[in-house]
C-alpha cells in the first residue's frame, strides 16, 4: 500500500467513524424520544381511566349519600350530596387526588382530608383530556344521565322533609324511589356509556402504546446495529492507523523522542510489509541520520587529526626555525671570531711586506738600482691597496656586528669640517681636481662623534676623488635642513638635521645601480669596478656610520653629469648606539 493512500484511507475511516457516531447518536435520541412517547401514551390512558372512574364514583357517592339521608334523615348527608354535585360541576374547589376513597374518608369524621385545588367542572377536564369525539360523547351522556337522576333523588329528599317529623310512609316511599327498578334502570343509563368509554379508550390507548413500543423496539435494534457498526469502524480506523504508523503510537512516540534527543545510533526494526509506514520512514530517516552523524564524526575526527598534524608541523617547523636561528647566531659568532682572526692574520704579514718593501725602497737595507727601487715601490703600493681593502672589509664587518660604539660630544661641525677639508685639499691637488668647501654660517653646536663623522667624510671624499677624472670638480657642503628635506630613512627623529653632501661631476651612477649602491661589492658598473680597484665597501660603511649616528644617507645622480652623496645627522639630543 502506498503510504499516501494509507494515510488517506485512515482519514477516510476516521470520517466514516465520525459519521457512524453521529448516526448512532441520532438513533439514540430517537429511541429516547420514542420511550418517552410510550410513557406519555400510558400516562394518557391512566388519566382517561381516572376521569371515567371519577364520574362513576361520583354517581355511586351521590346514590350512597341520598339513600343514607333518606334512611337517617341526618342533614349532613344532604350537605355531602350537594358538595359532591358542586365539585363535579365546578362550583366548589376540587380537592387534590380526588379519588374513589375520598368520601369514605370524609364520612368517618366529616373532615376534608386534602386541601382544595381550583374549581374545575369534570366535563371541562374531560374535554381537555384529548378524547375522541365518540369517547367524549359517551362520558357526556353518562354525566347527563347522572344529572337527570338527581331529580328523583331531590324528590325523595323533599318527600321526607315534607313533614316534621318525617312519617314512616314518606320515608318508605322515598326509600322505594331510590331502590326501585326505574332507579336501577337510570343507574344503568349512567354506567353503560362509561363502560363503552372504557372499551373505546382501552382500544385506542392500548393501540398507541403498542405502536410506540414497536417503534422503541425498532429503534433499539437500530441502536444496537449502529453501535456495532461504530465499533467496527473504530476498529478499522485503528487498524489503518496501525498500518500507517507501522507500530503503536506509544512506540512511535518513544522512537521520535529518542531521535529528538540526538541518539541516532539505535536502529528501528520494521515488521515485514511495514516498510511504507511512518515507522518505515522513521527507520529510513534514522539510517540517514546515523549515516550523516557518522560522516560528521568522521569529518570531525579528520579535522582534529589535521589540526593535530598541523600543530605538530608548526612545532616541528618552529623547532627547525629555532635551530636555524641558533645556527645563524653561531655562524654570526663564527664570523665575528673569523674576522677577529683575519684582521690579525691577514694584516700582520701584509704589514711585514709593506715594512720590508719600505726599507728596500728607501735604501735602508743597502743601496739599490733605480729599477730595484721602483719594484720595491710597486710592492709597497700594491700592499698598501690590499691593506686598505682588508681594513674596509674589517670595518664593515665590525659595523655590521655592532662592535663600533658611538661617542658623541657637543661640538661645532664647522671647525671639524675645516680640519677635514684641509687634510683632503692636498690630495685633490695631486689628483688635479678642483675642491670646494661650503659650510653654512651659524651651524651651531651639536652632538657629534668626531671619529665617525671624519671617517664617513674620508670615505665619501676618497670615493669622489677616485671616480672623478682629472680636471673635474669635487665639493663638500654642510647645512642645517628641516626634517622634511631629509630624503632617506633616519634612525633618530629630530626637527633638524645636519646635511653633509659630497658632490662631483664624474661619470655619475646609472639609475638601475642606485638602489644597490649602498651594498658592498657594488661599484657603478663592472667596467668602473675594473678601472677603479675596490670593493665598494666604502659606501656601505658610510651608510652604516650614518645610521650609527642616528641619521641616514642617500645619493642623487644622473649618469654623465656626476653624483651627489648625502648624509643627514640629527641635530639635538645625542643619539645612542
Amino acid at each position: 500500500m502506498n503510504p499516501k493512500d494509507s494515510l488517506s484511507e485512515f482519514s477516510r475511516n476516521l470520517w466514516l467513524t465520525l459519521g457512524m457516531f453521529v448516526v448512532a447518536a441520532i438513533t439514540f435520541g430517537f429511541y429516547a424520544h420514542l420511550e418517552k412517547q410510550v410513557d406519555h401514551a400510558n400516562e394518557l390512558r391512566h388519566q382517561s381511566f381516572l376521569l371515567a372512574d371519577e364520574l362513576r364514583q361520583s354517581s355511586d357517592d351521590l346514590t350512597r349519600m341520598v339513600r343514607t339521608y333518606v334512611v337517617t334523615g341526618d342533614p349532613i348527608y344532604k350537605r355531602h350530596y350537594q358538595e359532591i354535585l358542586d365539585i363535579r360541576d365546578g362550583k366548589k374547589p376540587r380537592p387534590a387526588a380526588y379519588d374513589d376513597i375520598y368520601w369514605d374518608l370524609v364520612l368517618a369524621d366529616d373532615q376534608r382530608p386534602r386541601p382544595g385545588g381550583p374549581a374545575v367542572p369534570l366535563l371541562e377536564l374531560m374535554r381537555q383530556a384529548g378524547f375522541t369525539e365518540r369517547e367524549f360523547a359517551s362520558l357526556a351522556q353518562a354525566k347527563a344521565n347522572s344529572d337527570v337522576l338527581t331529580r328523583p333523588e331531590f324528590a325523595a329528599m323533599a318527600l321526607i322533609e315534607s313533614t316534621e317529623p318525617t312519617t314512616e310512609a314518606n320515608r318508605l316511599m322515598a326509600t322505594r324511589m331510590l331502590n326501585d327498578a326505574a332507579y336501577h334502570q337510570a343507574k344503568y343509563g349512567i354506567m353503560r356509556p362509561i363502560s363503552e368509554f372504557y372499551q373505546m379508550v382501552e382500544q385506542r390507548t392500548l393501540g398507541a402504546v403498542r405502536a410506540a413500543e414497536n417503534a422503541v423496539a425498532l429503534a433499539r435494534a437500530m441502536l444496537i446495529v449502529f453501535g456495532l457498526l461504530l465499533a467496527f469502524t473504530l476498529w478499522r480506523a485503528y487498524r489503518v492507523l496501525h498500518a500507517t504508523l507501522g507500530c503503536s503510537v506509544d512506540e512511535l512516540q518513544g522512537r521520535i523522542v529518542r531521535l529528538g534527543s540526538g541518539d541516532f545510533s539505535s536502529s528501528i526494526p520494521v515488521a515485514r510489509g511495514m516498510e511504507n509506514s511512518v515507522l518505515g520512514w522513521l527507520s529510513a530517516t534514522q539510517i540517514n541520520l546515523a549515516q550523516i552523524d557518522a560522516e560528521r564524526k568522521q569529518a570531525e575526527a579528520a579535522l582534529r587529526q589535521l589540526n593535530e598534524e598541523l600543530e605538530e608541523k608548526v612545532i616541528a617547523r618552529t623547532a627547525a626555525l629555532e635551530q636555524a636561528k641558533l645556527k645563524v647566531e653561531q655562524a654570526s659568532r663564527g664570523k665575528d671570531e673569523f674576522l677577529a682572526a683575519i684582521s690579525h692574520e691577514l694584516k700582520t704579514p701584509l704589514n711585514h711586506i709593506l715594512g720590508f718593501a719600505d726599507l728596500l725602497k728607501e735604501g735602508l737595507a743597502g743601496e739599490l738600482s733605480a729599477e730595484q727601487k721602483g719594484m720595491a715601490q710597486d710592492i709597497f703600493d700594491a700592499g698598501s691597496k690590499q691593506l686598505a681593502i682588508v681594513n674596509s672589509l674589517i670595518e664593515l664587518a665590525r659595523l655590521q656586528a655592532g662592535k663600533v660604539k658611538l661617542q658623541a660630544e657637543l661640538q661645532d661641525p664647522a671647525k671639524m669640517l675645516g680640519e677635514i677639508a684641509t687634510r683632503h685639499a692636498a690630495k685633490a691637488q695631486v689628483a688635479g681636481l678642483a675642491f670646494a668647501v661650503e659650510v653654512a654660517e651659524g651651524l651651531g653646536e651639536m652632538p657629534l662623534d668626531r671619529e665617525v663623522v671624519t671617517h664617513l667624510l674620508d670615505q665619501l671624499l676618497a670615493n669622489a676623488f677616485k671616480f672623478t677624472p682629472s680636471g673635474g670638480k669635487v665639493s663638500l657642503t654642510a647645512r642645517r635642513v628641516p626634517h622634511t628635506d631629509v630624503a632617506a630613512p633616519v634612525r633618530v627623529a629630530a626637527d633638524e638635521y645636519l646635511e653633509l653632501a659630497v658632490a662631483d661631476n664624474g661619470p655619475g651612477v646609472a639609475p638601475e645601480i642606485l638602489p644597490r649602491l649602498f651594498q658592498p661589492f657594488v661599484q657603478g658598473d663592472g667596467r668602473l669596478a675594473r678601472s677603479h680597484q675596490g670593493t665598494g665597501a666604502g659606501l656601505m660603511i658610510v651608510k652604516l656610520l650614518a645610521e650609527l649616528h642616528g641619521g641616514g644617507s642617500g645619493v642623487e645622480s644622473e649618469p654623465g653629469t656626476g653624483a651627489k652623496f648625502l648624509v643627514w645627522l640629527p641635530c639635538g639630543a645625542a643619539p645612542t648606539s
Binding site: H344, T348, H352, G355, L359, L364, K403, V404
Partner: protein
C-alpha cells in the same frame, strides 16, 4: 742632524717578522736592540738587565702585552722604563686599556717607520 743618545730597546713580539722589521727600523737609528718572543721572556730579559725602552706587542700567546706592562709598572726597578705598546686592535677600548695599564704610548699596526722612530726619540728625550 742632531744625533740622539744611543739606547738599548727591548722589542717584545711573538712574530719573527715583526721582530726583524722593528729591529731593523730601530738599528738604522743606531739603537741597540734586544728581543723577546714572549711575555715571560720579556720579564726575564728586563730582570737581567734594564733596557731604556720597551716596544711591547699586545696580542701574544701566553702572557699578553697588557699583563707584561702591568708587571713592569708594578716593579719598582722597571717602573720608569717607557713602554710603547703595539696593537693590531684598532678600537678605542684596547688603546685606552693600554694607556691605563701604564704604557707611555700606543702604536697601531702597521707600524710606520717614521712614526716609530719619532716616538722612540721623544720618549728617550723625556727621560
Amino acid at each position: 742632524m742632531e744625533q740622539t743618545k744611543q739606547a738599548t730597546i727591548l722589542v717584545v713580539d711573538d712574530d719573527e717578522f715583526n721582530i726583524k722589521l722593528l729591529k731593523k727600523m730601530l738599528t738604522i737609528e743606531g739603537h741597540a736592540v734586544r728581543t723577546a718572543a714572549s711575555g715571560e721572556e720579556a720579564l726575564a730579559s728586563v730582570a737581567e738587565q734594564l733596557p731604556d725602552l720597551v716596544l711591547l706587542d699586545i696580542m701574544m700567546p701566553g702572557m699578553n702585552g697588557f699583563e707584561v706592562a702591568r708587571q713592569l709598572k708594578a716593579d719598582s726597578r722597571a717602573r720608569s722604563i717607557p713602554i710603547i705598546m703595539v696593537t693590531a686592535l684598532e678600537d678605542r677600548e684596547s688603546r685606552l686599556k693600554a694607556l691605563e695599564t701604564g704604557a707611555e704610548d700606543v702604536l697601531t699596526k702597521p707600524v710606520n717607520r717614521a712614526e716609530l722612530q719619532m716616538r722612540v726619540k721623544s720618549l728617550l728625550k723625556a727621560r
